[in-house]
């Protein structure tokens, strides 16, 4: 099933919850195409994509969280083993209080992907079984992948920057 057909099916099934989809770019056939979904519908859409045999997006490759300054976008990149397709489901979240329901129940791997997004972007995942920081230390301040993130000058007395040798020595 092509991406456009998939989008059409999703729109038919979920109506307004599907906000739109990426357009194909003739000059760049390799681009990732995503369908934009309202945050509250993410779990249903993902479950539909995962469970429907004609779609069968059985693998969640990654959850890319991006800080677009006015909103935070999560892109659930998924693959279908049976149909050899790649697509993304994208959600736009409020930047101040980003929150979305977890998709852990659909793909177990979402557990860690969501933890990483929580850690690096501060997105809260409702219903997540173990929402802790994954890569940064537990007592780290801030979410590093936010565009306005400023690193603290030190962490427990360890300086986070090194002075530059060039031009000095």
């Amino acid at each position: 099933m092509t991406f456009e057909e998939t989008v059409a099916r999703l729109q038919e099934k979920f109506g307004d919850a599907v906000e739109g989809a990426d357009e194909r770019d003739a000059g760049r056939p390799g681009l990732l195409l995503g369908v934009y979904v309202r945050p509250e519908a993410v779990v249903d859409v993902c479950r539909y994509l995962h469970d429907t045999p004609e779609l069968a997006f059985e693998q969640l490759s990654c959850i890319t969280g991006t800080d677009f300054q006015d909103h935070i976008q999560l892109a659930y990149v998924m693959m279908s083993y049976a149909h050899r397709e790649v697509m993304a489901v994208k959600v736009k979240l409020d930047r101040d209080e980003p929150s979305v329901h977890t998709v852990e129940g659909i793909w177990a791997t979402a557990n860690w992907h969501e933890r990483e997004v929580y850690d690096l972007l501060g997105v809260y995942f409702e219903g997540h079984s173990d929402l802790r920081r994954l890569l940064m230390p537990d007592d780290w301040v801030g979410h590093p992948l936010r565009k306005d993130y400023k690193e603290e000058p030190d962490y427990h007395g360890i300086p986070t920057t090194r002075d530059k040798a060039l031009g000095k020595y």
Partner: protein, 378 residues
């Protein structure tokens, strides 16, 4: 104190064991909190992040081509794939066509690198089971590969070879013959390696029926590459979502068959890696025979400014799908680079798969997943 209470306190008395971050078999710096009853674990919870260098954040601050050397550090055992994936993603953003010769060279270096990485993978697994010699036999062959790759691109580990639009260097004169003669000796030496360790009854007993991951669990946890194929899922990005010159080659996708135990056990993952090396040899022979003449680099402007858009490019690395999700905002620096690494999901399955294993089996499980710490943390 009444008897039921004391009984309960005895049965609840589990040992918490901290394995790592410095431990001989954690393959880098990973830490596991093992809850166990003596030798039998109830679970092992991985704690990662010790090698988190913020490569994704670094990418946002530099021009597109400058990020390639950083991808080397994503997976230091198979840096070609990391280069390749990133280059592919940016090429897709640009809509760039890569010369055929460059695609062939990419395949050649990728397969050489896959052999090198798998040699470490299976060797380290044997070492974690207690046999030190196979590891060094693997290292021996990898050393020859390192020499070949060094001659090609000047570095042994952090290649920075595959660039946006092509590859950095053409193959020097005589190197193709060198690779072929390496392959000629590699095949019998791999058979010898198999006699030394792969069929060894102790190794088989240690790995077969240990840490079984069935196909459903493997898919759900997003396992990729040899780990996924070890669980019996026939999925290889080289064949199924073809990129580069792979559609032109004839090779078999090695899938676990439960050779000596249950499908999806540690031994299947071991065997899949060993068989994949032989398939790589096949691809290499075809690629070297059919390498076309031509440019090695597409016409790429000095300053790359891909138009707005998102691209996801995944290559079948030695550790499975290594995906780059690059988002461009039309400027000369990537707006966001997300790296999806095979080891990341492989580590996440450890907590699930380690239930009821023994401590010695946990070591086998970690080794059989072939996780590598910098790829988890990036």
């Amino acid at each position: 104190m009444d008897s039921t209470q004391s009984k309960q306190s005895v049965s609840d008395d589990l040992m918490i064991l901290n394995m790592g971050p410095q431990h001989p078999s954690t393959h880098g710096v990973i830490r596991f909190i093992i809850t166990g009853d003596g030798e039998v674990m109830q679970r092992a919870v991985p704690h990662v992040g010790y090698l988190h260098r913020g490569i994704e954040k670094l990418a946002e601050g530099m021009p597109y081509p400058s990020f390639v050397p950083f991808t080397d550090r994503v997976d230091y055992l198979a840096a070609m794939f990391a280069n390749h994936g990133y280059a592919l993603a940016v090429e897709r953003l640009l809509g760039l066509e890569v010369p055929r010769r460059a695609e062939y060279l990419r395949v050649i270096v990728s397969e050489l690198n896959r052999i090198a990485s798998h040699l470490i993978g299976v060797g380290a697994m044997a070492m974690d089971i207690g046999a030190f010699t196979p590891f060094l036999h693997g290292i021996r062959e990898r050393e020859k590969l390192n020499d070949i790759i060094e001659e090609l691109c000047g570095a042994r580990l952090t290649y920075n070879y595959v660039r946006v639009g092509g590859v950095a260097f053409d193959i020097p004169a005589g190197l193709d013959r060198k690779i072929l003669s390496f392959l000629d000796t590699f095949e019998p030496l791999m058979e010898e390696f198999n006699r030394l360790i792969t069929v060894n009854e102790i190794l088989v007993k240690r790995c077969a029926n240990v840490a079984i991951i069935d196909a459903e669990t493997a898919k759900s946890y997003g396992l990729v590459g040899p780990n996924l194929r070890g669980s019996g899922v026939d999925w290889d990005l080289r064949r199924d979502l073809p990129y580069s010159a792979y559609p032109e080659f004839d090779f078999k996708v090695c899938v676990g068959r439960g050779v000596r135990g249950t499908l999806g056990d540690a031994y299947d993952r071991f065997v899949v890696r060993v068989e994949e090396m032989m398939e790589s040899v096949k691809i290499l022979r075809q690629a070297l025979a059919g390498i076309p003449e031509g440019d090695i680099m597409a016409k790429v402007p000095r300053k790359l400014k891909p138009p707005k858009g998102e691209a996801y490019a995944a290559v079948e690395s030695a550790r499975g799908e290594l995906g780059y999700h690059v988002i461009s905002d039309g400027k000369d620096k990537p707006y966001r680079v997300k790296i999806r690494a095979g080891s990341f999901t492989a580590t996440s399955i450890i907590e699930h798969a380690s239930k009821g294993l023994m401590i010695a089996d946990l070591v086998v499980l970690i080794a059989s997943l072939d996780v590598i710490a910098p790829e988890i943390d990036r």
